[in-house]
Amino acid sequence: MTVGEWLEWAKGDALKRGLPDMSGPLDGLAQATERLRSADWNDDADKATPVDAAGDQPGVGGEAQ
C-alpha cells in the first residue's frame, strides 16, 4: 500500500467513524510516514543482502550465544 493509498483509506475510514477532524492529523502522519519509508536504513528484497551493524555481536542480526 502506498502512502497515498493508505491516506485515502484512513481518511475515508475516519469519516465513516464520525471523526472528520482526523483529516489534518492524518496528513501530518502521512508526511512522517513518507520520511520513514525514504530513510536510507530500509532494505529492499531485490537489493543487497542486509548486513547488520551488530556484525558478529550477540543479539538480533548477530550470532546466538
Binding site: 500500500m1 492524518l26 502522519l29 512522517a32 510516514t33
Partner: protein, 447 residues
Amino acid sequence: MTIADVAPRLATGEVKSEKLTEDCLSQIEALNPKLNAFITVTADAALASARKADLEIAAGRYRGPLHGIPVSLKDLVDLKGVRTSAGSRVRADHVAERDAVVTARLREAGAVFVGKTNLHEFAFGTTTEDSGFGLARNPVDATRSPGGSSGGSAIAVATGMSLGTVGTDTGGSIRIPAAACGIVGLKPEWGQISASGVVPLSRQLDHVGPLAACVTDAWLQYTAMLPPHLRTRTVPTAAPLKGLRLGVPTGYLFDRLDAEVERVVAATIEALRAAGAIVSDVVIPHANDMSAIYLHLVLGDAAEYHARTLLTRPDDYTPNVRLRLEMARYVLAEDYVRALRGKAVITDEVDRALDGIDALVLPALAIPAPPIGAATMPVKGGPEAVRALMLRCTQPFNLSGHPAISLPCGRTHEDLPIGLQLAGRKGQTEELIQAALAVEQLIERDR
C-alpha cells in the same frame, strides 16, 4: 528552598518535617486555585507522615536526605490508596492498590507525599493544556503553558508546593516543563529506574525521573529511586570545567530555535568555552528523521494500550488526546518496524557523537513557554507547530535511552526561563551530574 539545604537541618532537628509540610500545603492552598498544579492533595496523610518522620529523626533513626522532605508525584504514578487519574476521566475511579516501585523507594527513603500533580492527559502532550482535570498554568506567566506532560510537577517545585517531585519523560516530559518553569529535570538512562506501577505511554520510550530546584536535589531524588544495589550516599561534586569535553550537535537540533533561546544558549556555551571547556561540533546524521521515528513508535504503543477504552468510553478522553489516539490506530505494522530500525540507528549515532565527549550540550526547549492555546510559534524559518518545537531537542535521548538533564541557563526579555540540556554516556549518569553541577555553578556565578 532546596532539599540539599534543608536536609542537614532536618537531620539535626533544627527544622521539623511537620513545619515544612505545612508550608508546602499552604502554598498549594494559596496557589493551586490559579495554577492547577495538583489533581489530588493528600494533606492528612502527609502531615501524619511528617510527624512520624520527626519522631524517627528525634529517636536517632535518620534515613537520609529525603527523610521528612515533602514530595509530589505526577498523577501517572501509583500511590497506594490514592487515585491515579493519569489526567483523564477514563481513570477517574481508579484507586491504586499498591505503591509504584518508585513510590515505595521514596517512601522507604522517608519522603512525605503531599499529593498527585496535574499532567497532559495520559502524558500524551507537551503543554498540560489537555487534562481531564483542567489545564495547568505557568507560575512565571499564568497566560502561558508550564510545559508538559509533567507540567503540574514542574509548577509544584518552582513554587514551593513540594521540594521534590517525580515526573515521567517519553519525549521530553520531564525536561520540557523543567525548562519552561525554570527548574532542573533529569531523565535517567532508559531502564535504570523501574516504571512498574506507572501508567505507560510507550514502554520503550518511557522514563521515570525527578524534577528539582537544583542539580543536587535532582541527584538526591534520583539515587533514592534507583534499585538498592545501585544507590550511593555520596553526593557528586562539580567536574572541573577546564578540560571538560562538550559536544554541540549542530544542524537539526539548532536550526529551529526561538531567537532569544538561541542567543542565551550560545552565550552559555561560549562562557563554558571561556572557562576552559573544550567545545567541539558533533553530528547526529539522521537527526532529521527523529521526529518521524518517534511519532510512529509512540502512536503504535499508545494505540495498543488505549484500544479498548477508545471503543468503550471515547467521550471520557479530552478531544485532542482522543483524536491523536484514534489516529494512532492507523499506523501500519511495516512503518512501525521501520521506526524500530530507525531507533537503533539513532541510538548508535548518539553513542558515536559521545565518543571522546563528556556530554552533549544543546537547548532543552527550542522556545520559551508558549501562550496557552497557541498552535504555532514563530521561530527562525517561519511558524512551526508548538508540539513539534517542544519535542525537537529532547526526543533524541528518549529514542537512544541516554541520560539527559535540563537546567535553567537564562531568561528572555519577558523573564521566561530558558533551559540548557546536557546528555551523557550510558552508565555514566554520575559523570553527567558532575558536568551539570559545573555548568550550574558557572551560570549562577554569571547571573
